[in-house]
Subunit: 137 residues, 2 copies
DNA sequence: ATCGAAATGTTACACTATAACAGAACCGTC
DNA sequence: GACGGTTCTGTTATAGTGTAACATTTCGAT
């Protein structure tokens, strides 16, 4: 949270109450949160909000590297190391739904393959589904 | 298509009319097809079908490696090399929406990282978004 | 011929996401 | 401190994606 604040200060980004609250919710959650999970978290506070409020805040957080979207789950997690630009990978446990973030692991071979095809990579999605240590039998 | 037939014959899988038709639609499509694209493709033929028909056929094709789901797009593509078990990666052009499949590129570093954490990988999603050669300016 | 399993039909609904426009808050400048 | 533009938020409505649940049919093997 502190990291997020200083990052926003540095970049002249506005960490508004809604955005801050959404980030807090993501940080507090043990697992990835859907947009509507976040929304109901917001609405546990004060005046009722609508879906766009949640999506806008989440878009902001993702755009600036404070959160990540897990495509496989249609859900979001707080970034584990905000500030550093990275292309993280995620380990998703199918039993407990917890998501672990690992540092940039975009495969060199993928880069090479893309180069060979003349494809210019702008973003990557690397997600693994399986069983985390706690859930492996 | 021939490959799909012999694969199903080998494994005693039933490539029913719906499933076959969905696979044909995916093979014929220049880009990834959403489930509802597939559904309307089905309904261009004969009796009207409902969403579950499309989803069931797609699930079957994906389960047996005849098609892949592109998480980033909520869409599906026919497999480029059915029969071989693989963990493909995809290059998604954000301009023309075409999807290129590349052979297994699951990063070794991801495997090692997962091992180090005791995480057992069962499936991977590796997708890159960017510009394909035709769309790069 | 019958039985069980697999596939499909059907209805209804849940979840995910965005368009479009109106209003409010912020921020710099004069 | 009033303006004017930009950014953010509120609000309504709707589009897009996916599944639960149960009935019916089809298939394949005994």
């Amino acid at each position: 949270m502190d990291a997020a604040e200083s990052l926003c200060a540095d970049r002249r980004l506005r960490l508004t109450p809604v955005r801050r609250r959404v980030l807090e919710l993501l940080l507090a959650a043990p697992k990835a949160q859907g947009a509507y999970d976040v929304l109901s978290g917001l609405n546990r506070d004060a005046p009722p909000r609508q879906p766009p409020a949640a999506y806008r805040a989440l878009d902001f957080l993702v755009a600036h590297g404070l959160a990540h979207r897990i495509e496989r789950l249609n859900a979001y997690v707080a970034c584990a190391s905000p500030g550093s630009t990275h292309r993280p990978a995620f380990l998703i446990c199918r039993a407990c739904d917890r998501v672990a973030e690992t540092p940039d692991l975009t495969p060199d071979r993928l880069k090479r393959e893309a180069d060979a095809q003349g494809f210019r990579i702008e973003a990557t999605v690397v997600e693994a589904v399986g069983l985390c240590p706690a859930c492996a039998p």
